[in-house]
């Protein structure tokens, strides 16, 4: 398998483990899967560095991923089989592949443990119940919240991948650090929105990103448009915060809204350091 194809498979694997962490309700396993996904994301980053060193083009194409599993057992087995499949493609001649192999050997052991001890639980993340427990949401408010979660969940995933791509291609340390901050911020938002989607039974893997969005010819324009988009996202958070007359949810959307302010600052900082 070509290195660029391994990259695609690893991208898919990262998403599968990340979204499994949203779908599983056992808090200990959820947290462990989330950490595994974080390690997979670092593998992806190191692979993209290697691709760049070798001057090989890569992209974010991915297959249609079906994660709508009915039980923990089904999900754990699915992840185990996916890891086993990709591990066959690793060449053990490089430190990176040895590291990825070692990490995933451990993941496989953990998944076997999960299968032994927490396999009978039903998964509710895909049952389309659209109920936010202990919240009195009207139909229109539920619709608004669901649309927001779909749109912003996708947007956070898109931003993570775009900034990761730009980070790989920049030689400017300030820009590199700004992109890392923005990736970390979007990771947190994606985690929040993904867990909320799972809570309401509407969890899905985000759609594939169009290449022209990350293979940016004009980074300045991207950042300027991005600032406008952050402002629009702030508006959406404010609207939702007002609509959701629930103290806890309103506070959460206000909190996200204020975080968008600092994203704008970071993007303006990036603009100043563009050469």
């Amino acid at each position: 398998m070509k290195l660029s194809e391994i990259y695609q498979k690893k991208h898919e694997l990262w998403l599968k483990i990340l979204f499994a962490s949203f779908a599983i309700s056992n808090e200990t396993i959820k947290s462990e899967l989330y950490d595994m996904a974080g390690i997979e994301f670092r593998h992806l980053k190191w692979l993209s560095n290697l691709l760049l060193e070798k001057n090989i083009e890569y992209d974010y194409e991915k297959k249609c991923i079906d994660i709508q599993k009915e039980s923990n057992l089904e999900f754990f087995k699915f992840l185990r089989d996916e890891i086993l499949e990709i591990k066959r493609e690793y060449s053990m001649e490089s430190a990176l592949f040895m590291r990825m192999n070692s990490d995933e050997n451990y993941f496989l052991e953990r998944l076997e443990e999960f299968i032994k001890f927490d396999s009978n639980k039903k998964i509710y993340a895909f049952d389309r119940n659209r109920i936010y427990k202990n919240k009195d949401l009207s139909k229109s408010s539920t619709d608004a919240l669901n649309i927001f979660l779909f749109e912003e969940g996708y947007k956070e995933y898109e931003l993570i991948m775009i900034y990761a791509y730009m980070q790989n291609y920049t030689k400017n340390l300030t820009l590199y650090n700004v992109y890392q901050d923005l990736i970390d911020e979007s990771m947190y938002h994606l985690k929040c929105f993904g867990n909320m989607q799972a809570h309401m039974g509407i969890l899905t893997i985000p759609r594939t990103i169009i290449p022209s969005l990350y293979k940016q010819a004009d980074i300045k324009k991207f950042l300027l448009d991005g600032i406008d988009e952050e402002r629009a996202a702030k508006e959406e958070c404010i609207k939702l915060s007002v609509a959701v007359k629930d103290k806890e949810l309103s506070k959460f959307f206000d909190f996200i809204n204020y975080q968008e302010n600092y994203h704008i600052e970071l993007m303006q900082k990036a603009l100043m350091h563009l050469t």
Partner: protein, 154 residues
């Protein structure tokens, strides 16, 4: 809890939710008969339609992708599912009917669904251009409305 403005928010029926969770025909076709883009130049949001048409003018395959909001994904999923495997003539008349139908929808939905129709029209145009040996990667058509405009704008 206070209701939000129903004019702005799409009513999520079971069918709509199904398209949100499992968008049909999302992706691209590498060797398409025609590729079209519908673009909102105010927001730079766009949709792409890829058509694979056989000699009998049947749509063998259709794919769409977009850089746009969820309404566009829903419209793209529903529209491509409706015309996949049908004749090009049927698809064209379906597109016209859909254009008429969305005229009464809130502006945001008009723009988002309109983007898919424009992308389809552009893909059909690309097929025709290819027959006339005009060389281009795709055809592009601009929307005459934008979801950025307020609903009450004259």
């Amino acid at each position: 809890m206070e209701n939000v403005n129903n004019e702005e928010i799409r009513d999520i029926t079971d069918e709509v939710l199904d398209h949100m969770m499992n968008p049909r025909n999302y992706g691209k076709i590498d060797k398409a008969s025609g590729v079209g883009m519908g673009i909102d130049t105010k927001t730079n949001e766009f949709a792409l339609i890829y058509l694979d048409i056989d000699e009998s003018q049947i749509i063998k395959d259709i794919k769409f992708s977009c850089n746009a909001c969820q309404d566009t994904v829903i419209a793209g999923s529903m529209f491509t599912e409706m015309i996949s495997g049908e004749s090009l003539d049927y698809a064209k008349s379906s597109a016209s009917m859909m254009s008429e139908k969305i005229k009464n929808a809130p502006l945001k939905q008009q723009a988002c669904s309109g983007m898919i129709i424009k992308a389809f029209d552009a893909a059909v145009l690309h097929v025709e251009h290819k027959k006339s040996e005009i060389v281009e990667d795709m055809c592009k058509l601009e929307l005459n409305i934008s979801c950025e405009e307020p609903d009450n704008e004259e």
